[in-house]
Amino acid sequence: MILETLLATAPDWALRHAAILVPVVPLVMAPILALSPSARLGWVLTLATTAAALYFSLLTLGIVQSLPGGVISYAVGNWAPPIGIEVRVDALNAMVLLIVTGMAFLGTIFAWPTLVSEIRKEKIALFLSAFLLCVSGLCGVTATGDAFNLFVFLEISSLSTYVLVAMGSSRDRRALPAAFDYLIMGTLGASFYIIGVGFLYAATGTLNMADLAAQLPGLTGNRSVQVGFAFIIVGLGLKAAMWPLHQWLPNAYAYSPSFVTMFLAATATKVAIYALVRWLFTIFQPDYAFEQALFYWILAPLGIAAMVICSFQAVFQTDIRRMLAYSSVAQVGYMLLGVSIGTAAGVSAGLLHLFNHALMKGALFMAVAGICLTYKGTTIRDFAGLGRSAPFTMAAFAIAGLSLIGVPLTAGFMSKLQLGYALFDHGWWWAVLLVVFSSFLAVFYVGRILQAVFFQAPVNPRKHRKEAPLLLLIPLWILALANIYFGIDATFPIGLANDAAVAALGQEAFR
């Protein structure tokens, strides 16, 4: 309904160029922001830019839903694909674009108080400029229909992410080695991806994704296609923090500025998973023998290993941000497990969990940022007794935490339910047991925090009653209420995820 009003009121140029404007608006605004004289002006501009990006991605979603084929194909510079670069948006990208720009917008609202306390004043405008570059890169990866273009945008987002992570050094110097490790691993991942694209280019002579998808069925036995496929999966797996390629993630999340942690946790790995789904299902078709083997012998076991092992690791962390970071890797495991089923229901469940995970991890990290802001600590001990001194922040934290466990009436329950259905349909009942077991572990690590927050006396007498600032509470509660709303009435995200899965799997939808 909101989409229809937006479509009806949008000017003609916006409708025509919506798909490309999502990544281009932040890209153009980033260097302008770097020149901004004051931090506050920079923040207002960032807010306007992310709002514009959100507007254009909503328009894109509306157009995709109203078009009969469900695909926007935009020839950049009027050079027709497959020779020119194409921006190609279907239900799958439109959903991920909505997540990225939505979280960027909510994140920017909440950013101001945390930035003022964590970043030096003269650096704030530059910091926000790097953030806009990151948003642009992530949107570009999502929107593009060109395999090499994806690499370029991936590197734009990654390079700006390394900078953002390293900016945490004013609070904790361990951010610097964390950013450096992330740089090494992230660059290796992108390089692996580009080697894979090279192999595919050698075999097919094209870089356009739709064109690749058309040519690959004739080349099933080709060794260089298979090698390229392997390189691409490893490279994107590194970016998506697929177990055991996640070693960069816990440190990067634990030491970066709170705003960056929240934004990365909600978007960065999601975009990599999107790219993985795009390659696995639309470009390579899942009926290739080697891809079936990959699903069964690699993706599913790795997803399950992430679910179980990283949940175990999360239980033993004392720093809350590290605990949530390990939990993020575990949640990536759920998504990969859903994807590895290979059916429309499985992909849909994985994508639904992707959507919900952005909601819950966004809310959790926002709440942690609020506490970090007012009470300067992120260990469980620092959180003791906060239920009494910051009831609004902690109530939202509790809601999102319950959603992370998958308690009924929260969004997390919905996606785990869908995942369970898809697994049962596929006959993988043992995997359902493991999902339940891993959720049980989540009860432990979330429960440890909640127990400290609500049932322990504050150990530190300085903790008087003090909430997080209002700018932080508003987006936090929007996300927390969304967690509950989508747990009761999940038609909107399930519809998005189903459309996306159909678009990912269905050839005619992508054509």
């Binding site: 027709a80 050094s169 610097l176 090494i184 290796l188 090279g198 870089l207």
Partner: protein, 165 residues
């Protein structure tokens, strides 16, 4: 056998370089060396693309006289992008000379820019790490981190005791 190997000498060189650079990027303790390994890895990928682009007997992809597109009204009247794209398939068959594939070269220009950006960002990070830790050896940095973590833990422990006492 030897022919098979020698025919692909370029690829063997690339495989060797790639292995070496990957090993350096993973195993070196000195952060600069690690960055050198990474940079070498990216350069090897550039080489890989360049070798892919080589067409046997092909010359540099700049059109020679016989292959020049014919424009009655000069370059000003050149076709729009869309028309050019449509016509390129037919033009391809008419070429007199063989040319190497120019596209990978263009891609690699982008990849080189990315490589430069990564290298400079990495070096900047190393400068900051040296300012913060006084060393650029990864194992020393790790040892310092562990020491600080233990010290912080002890302090928190002490605070807790004072608060309860």
């Amino acid at each position: 056998m030897w022919e098979f190997i020698l025919d692909r000498a370029g690829y063997w060189a690339i495989i060797g370089l790639m292995m070496i650079s990957l090993f350096i990027a993973f195993s070196a303790e000195n952060l600069i060396k690690r960055l050198v390994g990474l940079s070498l890895f990216q350069t090897t990928i550039c080489l890989f693309y360049i070798i892919l682009a080589k067409v046997t007997g092909g010359t540099a992809p700049v059109l020679l006289k016989e292959d020049m597109p014919y424009h009655p009204a000069g370059h000003a009247a050149a076709e729009t992008g869309a028309q050019l794209t449509a016509a390129s398939g037919e033009r391809f068959a008419e070429l007199v000379h063989t040319y190497s594939n120019p596209l990978p070269h263009v891609l690699i220009l982008t990849a080189i820019v990315v490589g430069v950006a990564t290298l400079s960002l990495g070096l900047a990070l190393i400068v900051r790490i040296r300012e913060a830790y006084g060393t650029i050896e990864a194992d020393d940095v790790r040892a310092i981190d562990i020491e600080t973590a233990i010290a912080q833990e002890a302090e928190a422990e002490k605070d807790l005791k004072e608060a309860t006492a």
